[in-house]
């Protein structure tokens, strides 16, 4: 402690504050500057506060809910409060400064919430992240507007979408569903907004939008209809089943079509009607009250059922109007009778006639009048064979009576009509069956059976079969006569008697034939008469034979019950009997025997010539001449028989021609008749041969 140096007065150099300050101070200083800079920056960049009021907050939270424009966050809700009267909720939103100027009076705000509809799910991201407020405004910055009123629904035209908005009004039967698509040729081109009921409660209306570029498809001539699901209709045009789109079947939808030319483009918020179906929409062109139709009355002579109110009036296949009312009319003064006629009032559309929408009634009637002078007439035609519905067709009838439009008609000018062209299938078919039912099938067959019975009885008659035997006996007698000594002894006078003999042989031939048929003739005639009358009955009752074919069922049914079997059996019996008769050996051997007899006669005559026993001959010849005269008389009736047989054949043929060609009965009967015919021919040819060469029997040639 002792040798401490004296305190050296150290006067520290007073350094300036700047010199003494540590360089570390720069750190907080720069931090301060940065903080201030950041604070100023954020203040400077802070956007303005706007206030948007909503019906309800729907999940808006202060500090969380964002404001989005085209899905870009442009603001944040800072405060949620009530309006003064608690009627609405005010959301105070801090918006970005950059877009603030665009939030002008036309800005619209709505709350995006998750929605699950038939069209799909939207706003799914808001399920977890919470709702957000979406806004839309135009691209013109017209200055910030601080107070806005939020909308309940998103506007139909979203940001960035262009199109045209319109109002759709649902007609009865049509349904408007929120957010359903508007289809054009089954492609969604627009959307329907939330439907509302009009103030008067008379209709449902909804805003709708058609997106560009399809908006130019919409004109005043456009018609909308409810395309949801499918429709089934049964009308004068037949059955109609209409699907539009399966998706719209589930979700609903509205389709449209511009059905007529000449519409003018619409402006925003034009009102359209939505029809329940496409058909109605198309027909609505006729009901367009802005274009009054031209009413015309048509009176039809035919009172045909099947015409209804609403039935189309067509000109050349084009629907130009429809039936508005129809009634019966009784006007003895006008028509000079008491018949009830069908009076139809139709409404014609000038636009559909191609005369233009502006055409007045006068011009339309003048046009019609001109056409009527050229033969235009109204007539009823079948619209559908299935339903029997009728329509009215305006057609030009050639060489129609001169006529004019009757302007004096009540209630409207009367247009002349023409004969209906109705193919009444039902009536025709019914008539066919009616006539078939009336055919006397049973009587016809009874007659045929009777005829055949008689024929069988005739051919089976033992007398008839006896004829050849008789002839043979006769010839035997003749042979015996010729072979007698007296005859043998007459050769001398024979030469002078040749001519007489020739006549006699002719008579002999005839008597042989006559004898063969003598007893048959009467019976045959009777049979032929019976057959003839039967055939007459048959042929007269067969006037309606052409219709017989259409009633095959009935006929067949009736035929089943008929005694066909016995009939055929009898016919077969007749035929076989006839065949038996004709093939009878005796009959066939007749000419031979005759020839033999004549040979013998010739031989006898030769002997006579040689012998000269003429004296006995005179008596013999006179008796023979008597016999020959009798034979001639009988033979003279042969052509008559032939002719009658022919008549029978003709009638029977006629009868059979009307019968079913292939039936068993017909074949059998035909066979029988053929046999009969063949018999007749044989008789005839025999007769002809004898006529031509009377001596052939005698000469054997």
């Amino acid at each position: 402690m002792s040798h401490l140096p004296p305190e050296i007065p150290v006067t520290e150099a007073r350094r300036s504050l700047w010199q003494r300050a540590s360089i570390v101070w720069l750190v907080p200083l720069s931090a301060l500057l940065i903080a201030l800079g950041v604070a100023w920056q954020s203040y400077h960049d802070r956007g303005p506060l706007i206030e948007v009021s909503f019906e309800e907050a729907k999940g808006i939270h202060a500090g969380e809910t964002e404001l989005r424009y085209r899905d870009v966050t442009v603001g944040l809700v800072e405060e949620v409060s009530f309006a003064d009267d608690l009627r609405r909720v005010n959301a105070t939103i801090r918006v970005d400064k950059t877009i603030a100027d665009y939030i002008d009076d036309d800005a619209r705000f709505w709350i995006v919430t998750p929605q699950v509809t038939a069209q799909g799910v939207s706003g799914l991201d808001t399920v977890l992240s919470g709702v957000f407020i979406e806004a839309v405004w135009d691209s013109a910055a017209e200055g910030l507007s601080l107070v806005h009123e939020g909308q309940d629904e998103a506007p139909l035209l979203r940001p960035g979408e262009e199109g045209i908005t319109m109002e759709l009004r649902a007609l009865p039967g049509a349904t408007l569903t929120d957010s359903t698509p508007i289809l054009y040729k089954n492609i969604p081109v627009g959307r329907i907004g939330k439907p509302q009921i009009t103030n008067g409660g008379e209709a449902a209306v909804a805003q709708a939008v058609i997106y560009a570029p399809y908006d130019r498809l919409i004109t005043t001539a456009t018609r909308f209809w409810d395309a949801s699901g499918f429709s089934f209709s049964l009308g004068p045009q037949g059955v109609r089943l209409n699907f539009d789109s399966v998706s719209s079947l589930l979700t609903g939808g509205v389709a449209f079509e511009t059905l007529a030319s000449g519409g003018i483009p619409i402006t925003d918020s034009t009102s359209f009607q939505v029809f329940a179906a496409e058909k109605e929409a198309r027909e609505s062109l006729f009901n367009d009250n802005s274009q009054p139709g031209v009413n015309v009355t048509i009176i039809f002579e035919d009172n045909v059922s099947g015409l209804d109110v609403g039935a189309p009036v067509e000109l050349g296949g084009l629907v130009i109007g429809e039936v508005v009312s129809l009634t019966g009319v009784l006007d003895p003064l006008r028509f000079r009778d008491d018949r009830v006629r069908l009076m139809v009032n139709v409404e014609l559309r000038p636009g559909q006639l191609g005369l233009g929408d502006e055409t007045g009634e006068e011009q339309v009637l003048t046009f019609l009048d001109t056409r009527i002078e050229n033969g235009l007439r109204a007539r009823l035609t079948t619209a559908s064979i299935l339903t029997g519905g009728l329509k009215i067709e305006l057609v030009e009838i050639e060489d129609a009576e001169q006529d004019r439009l009757d302007y004096t008609g009540t209630p409207f000018p009367i247009m002349p009509s023409s004969q209906a062209q109705v193919s009444d299938t039902a009536a025709t078919a019914q008539g066919v069956f009616q006539r078939l039912n009336n055919l006397p099938i049973e009587e016809l067959l009874d007659s045929a059976i009777g005829f055949l019975n008689t024929a069988t009885a005739l051919t089976a008659d033992p007398d008839l079969t006896q004829v050849p035997a008789d002839v043979r006996a006769l010839l035997g007698d003749v042979r015996g006569l010729v072979g007698s000594d007296e005859v043998q002894a007459l050769p001398v006078q024979v030469a002078s008697l040749i001519t007489t003999i020739s006549d006699t042989t002719t008579d002999l031939r005839r008597i042989a034939q006559s004898l063969e048929e003598a007893q048959a003739v009467d019976r045959l005639l009777a049979a032929v008469d019976a057959a003839g009358s039967a055939a007459t009955t048959v042929s007269s009752s067969f006037d309606g034979v052409p219709e017989l074919i259409q009633s095959l069922n009935n006929v067949a049914h009736t035929a089943e019950t008929l005694p066909l079997d016995s009939l055929v059996a009898q016919a077969t019996g007749v035929v076989s009997a006839a065949e038996t008769l004709l093939r009878d050996d005796g009959l066939q051997a007749l000419p031979e025997q005759l020839g033999a007899a004549l040979d013998e006669i010739r031989a006898a005559l030769g002997e006579l010539r040689d012998g000269g026993a003429v004296e006995n001959l005179n008596a013999t010849f006179s008796s023979a001449q008597e016999a020959a005269a009798a034979i001639q008389d009988a033979a003279g009736r042969l052509p008559e028989i032939t002719r009658r047989l022919d008549t029978v054949m003709v009638q029977a043929n006629k009868t059979l021609a009307g019968l079913e060609p292939n039936s068993e009965l017909n074949r059998a009967a035909r066979g029988a008749l053929t046999e009969v015919e063949r018999a007749a021919r044989a008789v005839e040819s025999l007769a002809r041969a004898l006529e031509r060469r009377p001596n052939s029997l005698i000469l054997g040639r």
């Binding site: 003494r20 300050a21 540590s22 570390v24 750190v27 907080p28 931090a31 903080a35 977890l128 992240s129």
Partner: protein, 213 residues
């Protein structure tokens, strides 16, 4: 005034010595350079308090936004969530994770604030030549200096999560602005604590008192 149980302290300065802070060798007062390790010798750091306050202020300035801005931004498929430090801790606590919430609160709130208070107290006490005993203040300083680095635990958690959870759009975690300012704040306070020349604690003590002890 109650005395501590510590033995009386004589500082190197009072002994006319200057100690090397690196190799702890004492040299006579006035020696400029340590003969052993060559480091600059200085008996007292004149600018110590200045630097302490400068870092302290910077740290505090960084700490304010660190608590106001979100520390962690979590984005899952539909939801985006950001939490401040305290908000996150409360969130965890409300989900029942009291332990984690406590750790976060202690590491991110309690310790930094305690550090601020402790450093400020030490600096003020030195500045005012406070006569309060030196030993507790020395202990406090050591504790502050030791514990300061643990405040970074929150930043580490954020860094690890942000690098681990990167599942594209499904889920991702990214550090919020607070993580930056919070780490700045921690760094500043650590620097502030380090700038403090703890020898100053002892200079202001009354030598009489010391000698009487």
């Amino acid at each position: 005034m109650g005395r501590s149980e510590h033995a009386p302290v004589i500082t190197a300065r009072q002994a006319g010595l200057v100690g090397c802070r690196r190799c702890a060798r004492a040299w006579p007062m006035g020696t400029q350079t340590c003969g052993a390790c060559g480091s600059h010798l200085k008996s007292r750091d004149d600018a110590s308090l200045q630097r302490v306050w400068a870092w302290w202020i910077a740290g505090l300035m960084a700490y304010i936004p660190a608590n106001l801005y979100p520390m962690l931004e979590t984005r899952t498929l539909f939801i985006s969530q950001s939490n401040t430090i305290v908000g996150g801790a409360i969130d965890l606590a409300s989900h029942g994770s009291y332990g984690v919430a406590t750790i976060i609160l202690v590491a991110s709130v309690l310790i930094p604030i305690g550090k601020f208070l402790a450093i400020a107290y030490l600096a003020i006490s030195v500045h005012r030549s406070d006569q309060s005993p030196g030993h507790p203040r020395q202990t406090l300083f050591e504790v502050v200096e030791y514990i300061g680095r643990w405040s970074m635990i929150d930043v580490f958690v954020v860094a690890i999560l942000a690098s681990l959870v990167h599942l594209g759009s499904v889920a991702s975690i990214s550090p919020g602005p607070a993580s930056l300012t919070f780490s700045l704040s921690v760094i500043c306070t650590m620097l502030s604590a380090q700038s403090f020349d703890s020898r100053l604690i002892w200079d202001q003590l009354d030598p009489q008192e010391d000698t009487t002890t």
